[in-house]
């Protein structure tokens, strides 16, 4: 028996969040305001995602939490422990075993299924915020479907850098209506936004929830002569040898040495377990006792 109400939040708060989630599902890409609560962690550590996860979890769920693709970093570990304690749900590091996945800034490499929910932690939900700081104005721009400013921003990228230099939080248009910030996932992940799982986005400090239902059309903004490209580092993973995954660059010494490894730790170790080896992988695996 836990000392906490199931999944930490009180029931009235959960109902309020659940109503916001359902309106978000009904209007894909539209940011629904909600009365975000203070959580026992600071803003910026995933309070929005935690509240959405708390509203979604049932005792039967298996939870996975990733931070930049990794299951073993501070943010992921502490949120996983938080729900182990307050909701007593099972947890896993394996994408395929999870029913609810809370993520910070990545979509798992393994394709998600219809039985899964992906919950994103979102810092700044408003894609137009850095172009127009006033909420009253950005709200009007969404209402009028006035997204010219976003195309000007992408055009300025091209005129300055010769290509669309935006590499993360790359804006998308959902179901031909709302321009949406997919949270700071690398643009490599943008094509995966059209998936079989339900995607929910929670921004705690900014008090917004939004959603993409399964199989919803999600188009990355671009131009005919400068089409969207889902870019990644031009290397193979140094540990598992995968050539089609998003890679982290790791500096390994003070002489410019570096290695590129999968940011999705579960996917990478799964491939290594199957015997795939990259150029810097250990020649054999230690057998755990």
């Amino acid at each position: 028996m836990s000392d906490y109400n199931f999944a930490y939040l009180d029931e009235q708060t959960k109902r309020m969040i659940r109503r916001a989630i359902l309106k978000g599902v009904a209007v894909p890409g539209y940011q629904v305001p909600f009365a975000s609560r203070e959580m026992p962690m600071p803003y910026g550590w995933g309070t929005g995602g935690v509240q959405v996860s708390a509203a979604c979890l049932t005792p039967e769920d298996t939870l996975k939490v990733i931070d930049q693709g990794a299951d073993d970093t501070t943010n992921a570990v502490s949120i996983r422990k938080f729900f182990e304690k307050t909701a007593e749900v099972a947890t896993t590091e394996h994408t395929g075993e999870a029913t609810v996945i809370q993520t910070r800034h990545r979509i798992p490499e393994e394709p998600l299924t219809e039985d899964q929910i992906l919950v994103y932690q979102v810092p700044i939900p408003e894609p137009l915020r850095f172009l127009e700081p006033r909420e009253t104005e950005t709200r009007k721009m969404h209402a009028l479907e006035e997204y010219g400013l976003m195309h000007v921003k992408l055009y300025e990228d091209i005129s300055r850098h010769g290509e669309i230099a935006t590499s993360y939080a790359y804006p998308v248009k959902v179901e031909g209506r709302y321009v949406m910030d997919p949270s700071p996932i690398p643009k490599f992940d943008n094509p995966k936004l059209e998936m079989a799982a339900i995607q929910l986005f929670g921004a705690g400090r900014e008090q917004r929830i939004y959603a993409i239902p399964p199989y919803t059309q999600v188009v990355s903004l671009d131009f005919e002569d400068y089409p969207f490209v889902a870019s990644k580092a031009n290397h193979a993973c140094a540990l598992c040898g995968a050539g089609d995954t998003y890679l982290d660059e790791v500096i390994v010494d003070d002489e410019g040495g570096r290695m590129y490894v999968c940011s999705d730790t579960d996917y990478c170790s799964g491939r290594q377990d199957k015997g795939h080896r990259g150029e810097m992988a250990a020649p054999y695996m230690e057998v755990a006792e």
Binding site: L22, V27, E114, A143
Partner: protein, 189 residues
């Protein structure tokens, strides 16, 4: 003293509400799927599915409209005891409960504003039965096409035409429920 109003709530509210919500989420995110729910019982004519939705989503912050046929003292007492939702006119309601015929006309219900399309009603429509045939559904949440036995077609086409404004629906029959968000395109099946 009437005791019917005091029974029929969730035995374990946090857990049963979480299951009720997941059914509601899945139904609305995947139009055409039919979910089965349990754990609540309201006075007739309220179905089990509608009672679960009321307990899961409504509280003292959500004005509720009861359509003729569902607006009776027994139902009001049950809602007052378990939920505390203020009973409201159609124009102020965040949620509404009734049969499709009794909920007509839909025009007074809130459809949101262009700046706040979320400020719109969700209707719980009581049905005789619910089957995955009839009207053809396409749009967000549906891989190719789904079918659902909707009470009519034209009203949902008009609802979709106003997107992103609009009203969202749950259809309840016994312990089964299905969802129809405003984003779904509806054609005769």
């Amino acid at each position: 003293m009437q005791t019917e109003a005091l029974t029929g709530g969730f035995a374990n509210p946090p857990v049963e509400a979480s299951r009720g919500f997941r059914a509601a989420l899945n139904a609305l995110a995947r139009p055409g799927t039919i979910e089965t729910v349990a754990g609540a019982g309201a006075p007739a004519p309220v179905s089990t599915a509608a009672a679960v939705l009321l307990l899961t989503l409504c509280d003292a912050e959500t004005p509720l409209y009861l359509a003729p046929g569902h607006d009776g003292q027994a139902v009001r007492d049950w809602i007052a005891f378990h939920i505390g939702a203020p009973i409201a006119d159609a124009g102020e309601a965040m949620f509404a409960l009734g049969t499709w015929e009794a909920l007509q006309p839909l025009a007074p219900f809130r459809a949101g504003t262009s700046e706040y399309p979320d400020r719109s009603v969700t209707l719980f429509v009581e049905m005789e039965g619910l089957e995955q045939k009839g009207a053809r559904l396409t749009g967000p949440g549906i891989r190719e096409a789904a079918h659902l036995s909707l009470p009519e077609i034209a009203a949902f086409q008009a609802n979709r035409a106003a997107f992103p404004l609009g009203r969202d629906f749950y259809f309840c029959a016994g312990d089964r429920l299905a969802g129809l968000p405003r984003s779904t395109m509806v054609e005769a099946g």
